[in-house]
Symmetry: C2
Subunit: 195 residues, 2 copies
Amino acid sequence: MKLYDLTASGNCYKVRLFAALAHIDLELVGVDLAAGEHRQAPFLALNPLGQVPVLVDGSRVLRDAQAILVYLAGAYGGLAWWPSEPAAQAEVVQWLSTAANEVQHGLCAARLVDRFGYALDKQVALDKAHALLAVLDGHLAQHDWLAIGRPTIADCAVYPYVLLAPEGGVDLGAYPHVQRWMSRIQALPGYLPAE
Amino acid sequence: MKLYDLTASGNCYKVRLFAALAHIDLELVGVDLAAGEHRQAPFLALNPLGQVPVLVDGSRVLRDAQAILVYLAGAYGGLAWWPSEPAAQAEVVQWLSTAANEVQHGLCAARLVDRFGYALDKQVALDKAHALLAVLDGHLAQHDWLAIGRPTIADCAVYPYVLLAPEGGVDLGAYPHVQRWMSRIQALPGYLPAE
């Protein structure tokens, strides 16, 4: 299986982290975003949205980190990471949506400004980042993991941009329950640090 | 089952539309966002993010339209709408992420500005809206439905804000395949128009 990857991308790290935790082998194929490779025809044929990561497994091509997590967990990772009951799946999907929406437009956007010079509204991103962190901290004050009482792809989808928050100027000092959750993730067997 | 609902919300319409198509009864509970009800303790206890829709089914409480679609389809709607194979689920989840991210921050955001006076960057929203519509149109030139060759919750998650695009100043005239897909959805038995 090939993962079209950018080392610095938190969205790609979601997939690399989960693959490490679930002992799934991935062949990493670097995509040179700085050179605009994601805007050229060969890559757009894999993902017309022009985003990494993309997973290629035989004839199957999947875009979007959250969808790739569902596929890898369901096909290779076992029910521990992605359950089969609808209510449990929905509890996980709540956080996949949060990763695609609030995390992307808060924590991730703030980092895109500071680390990569994107012309986004930094204050809007910071406001969204802290609003989400407050909700996360409240949730994690009562739960060890984001969903269904155990580590799942929900944690893998949300954790990377929380870990990378300081690169966007977001201090996690006010969120002790978030920090303890991060420590729990980092203590999982097979944990892969961000590069 | 209770759906905490706002009539004008496209995110709530995703759930109402699917429930109509799948013959699932919902008791609608109006949330008065204009009066700030979503920012008050009783509602925040249901969803700390302060967003509609929220589904309450017995002791189960779910936020996020996409997660609610997974739950309703999985628990009540049958495999037609939400398949059980990981690869098929992932194909659907690609579009659930698109609904939570690109649709929300493009088509939905443009409408929030025009219809509800939100202080968002309208040009950014319009650019994202048209970028996504171009990708959608290309996809729908080759597929009748967004995922797995049949109507699924993927279509229900993306369709509402496409339908409501003109309320955000987005003309769909340049996207004929999107328009034909909309007609196919509108021809499904049980289809519920937006209010």
